[in-house]
Symmetry: C2
């Protein structure tokens, strides 16, 4: 499968590292920088196609500063674009995809699985199959359904340690990745790549995901501390201060309900830091009162990030492993080197 | 750290594999068989000291059939004993520990962390330090507190994919193990072993846990399918049928409330299969009515295990990887061989 990764993303260095397409955070600068450093950079989902196009322009400029990358990109833009299928107008998005030909479109949160089929077919149509279809999934049964519907090029197995939005019920990558790989292999999908996401924040996690059978790995929270990420300084401070990730963060639907009823489909929630808002909810404060408090504190402070704040701060359970601001390229280099060190150490066991 | 494992459990083969001390399931036959096959076998917690002693007798007989194991056991019984600290009377347990000198006492679910100190001191006292202290923990902050209180020989980092009882809030081993190891190293506890637990069910998981920095791994659900485990046939059938582990199982407090109010301290819940009882709860059925239904169906059927049953069936998110009944020794051999295969394959990356 390493050969398929190398064929489809020929500029990448093994093991494949991808930044999560974090909406509002992962812009063209991060995506371009990640791809330039031998990963696959992703631009986060955006409903506003002008903004999405302008982030693609930014990525394109970074890519074009690197002739080798352009050469290796096989007539595509060697970054990917995240699409939140339930709120993205396909008719508006397709012309942007057609124009920029990102190497990957990463689909997530369709209202129904059949929507992935529509997206996959139409994206393939407008880019002559040059744009690879990535689909994010959290269940083995649904993975098989999606594979049968539209055979994506890559499945992203998202475990419950992931920050931001994900599946309300699920497993960590330790169980999810091997079971999904087995099910794919047993059902004739040996040639579909599997990428692990959720809770991975350093080279040890990358080596572990590889051992579990993943062809690549996604990091989100780690890239919140990348210099190139679009992020408010106090949001980033909250990430850097986070320790004991499974206690510091929690999955809950309340974080999507702070401005009014959630717009997300059923079955999704999100992992964010345990904030004043979360503690209010635990203490039984009504959602109306929570919303009032969020509004009040945001009126006073703009955004109110942090453990003592009320605005949602999305972060994964790996947040305790994220301790410094670094260039995206340095993150990739450090994580790759560490993962290789770990695997080299296996010799002592063999 | 491999050297400390080898020194303390000299009969074991690397990587160290341990069966979870599943109360009511892991008896002397399983524990003895696991140790005889080069792992560390554990007997599950039991409040009844006569029953615990009789399981220790069973383990002892298996051990004494193996002269090499006896020789390597350094004047202890080379198995461990699980202790649920919140319900076990230390005065009754200590004479049993003193008599059998198990190589390890695995402590879990103390009402307060200081109880671990009492247990650690008194167990060490009655066995002259021959019995190693293992403590199961799910948070980095609490791990450090426990280390400072009584410096156990081993910490078990239990991730949220684990079946049965565990911590209501936490992370998967993918995040928990590396962060805990870093915190231990940074605080002067480099010489304490760290064992990973939760969601690991095959050689890929073992290799992954090793990459994350674990000195050994625990499997629970996989051993529910061991021939030597004490388990009802329909319970085992439910385990073997489980697929898509993150959907088939769920963590919830309801499973501890089926006979009456839970006896567990705050902060704990358990992962079990999504049963009729769980679906009743999701549909808003009151706990009184849930209890009535459980009682009724158990009166009719003895125990009512399975997806269509009402009795709690504890299982981890790795349940989808557990597909056949095997001898414990065969499980160890297969899992170890696979983990070595995986790590050997790393050469292709390096």
């Amino acid at each position: 499968m390493a050969s398929r990764i190398k064929a489809d993303y020929p500029w990448t260095v093994s093991p494949l590292i991808v930044n999560a397409p974090m909406a509002g955070f992962a812009g063209g600068k991060l995506a371009g920088s990640v791809s330039r450093a031998g990963g696959l950079g992703l631009i986060g989902s955006d409903m506003d196609m002008n903004r999405l196009a302008s982030e693609l322009e930014i990525a394109s400029k970074i890519i074009h500063d690197s002739p080798n990358l352009v050469k290796a990109s096989q007539d595509t833009l060697p970054v990917g674009v995240g699409i939140l299928a339930f709120i993205t107008d396909i008719e508006k998005a397709l012309p942007v995809v057609q124009k920029y030909r990102p190497r990957a479109v990463w689909l997530f949160a369709a209202r129904q699985l059949s929507d992935y089929k529509t997206w996959a077919e139409r994206v393939r149509e407008v880019t002559g199959g040059k744009t690879k279809i990535w689909i994010q999934i959290g269940s083995v049964v649904k993975a098989l359904e999606v594979l049968k519907l539209c055979k994506p090029d890559v499945l992203i197995a998202q475990g419950i340690d992931a920050g931001g939005h994900g599946f309300e019920r699920g497993a960590g990558v330790i169980s999810l990745v091997p079971e999904m790989r087995d099910a794919m292999d047993a059902n004739g999908f040996q040639d579909v790549c599997l990428v692990a996401s959720g809770g991975i924040a350093d080279g040890r996690g990358v080596a572990a995901a590889w051992a579990l059978g993943a062809d690549g790995i996604v990091m989100g929270t780690r890239f919140l501390a990348a210099e190139e990420t679009l992020i408010h300084p106090t949001y980033r401070d909250a990430i850097l201060q986070g320790k004991d990730g499974g206690q510091f963060t929690v999955r809950h639907k309340v974080f999507d309900n702070l401005k009014g009823p959630t717009i997300w489909p059923d079955g999704y929630d999100g992992r964010a830091i345990v904030s004043k808002t979360y503690r209010d909810m635990e203490e039984g404060v009504s959602i109306e009162e929570i919303r009032r408090r969020v509004k009040e504190s945001e009126a006073a402070t703009g955004k109110d990030y942090g453990v003592e704040g009320r605005t949602a701060v999305w972060a994964g359970a790996g947040v305790g492993l994220v301790n410094e601001v670094q260039k995206a390229g340095d993150i990739l280099e450090e994580v790759r080197a560490k993962s290789m060190d770990v695997l080299r150490g296996a010799k002592s066991l063999l």
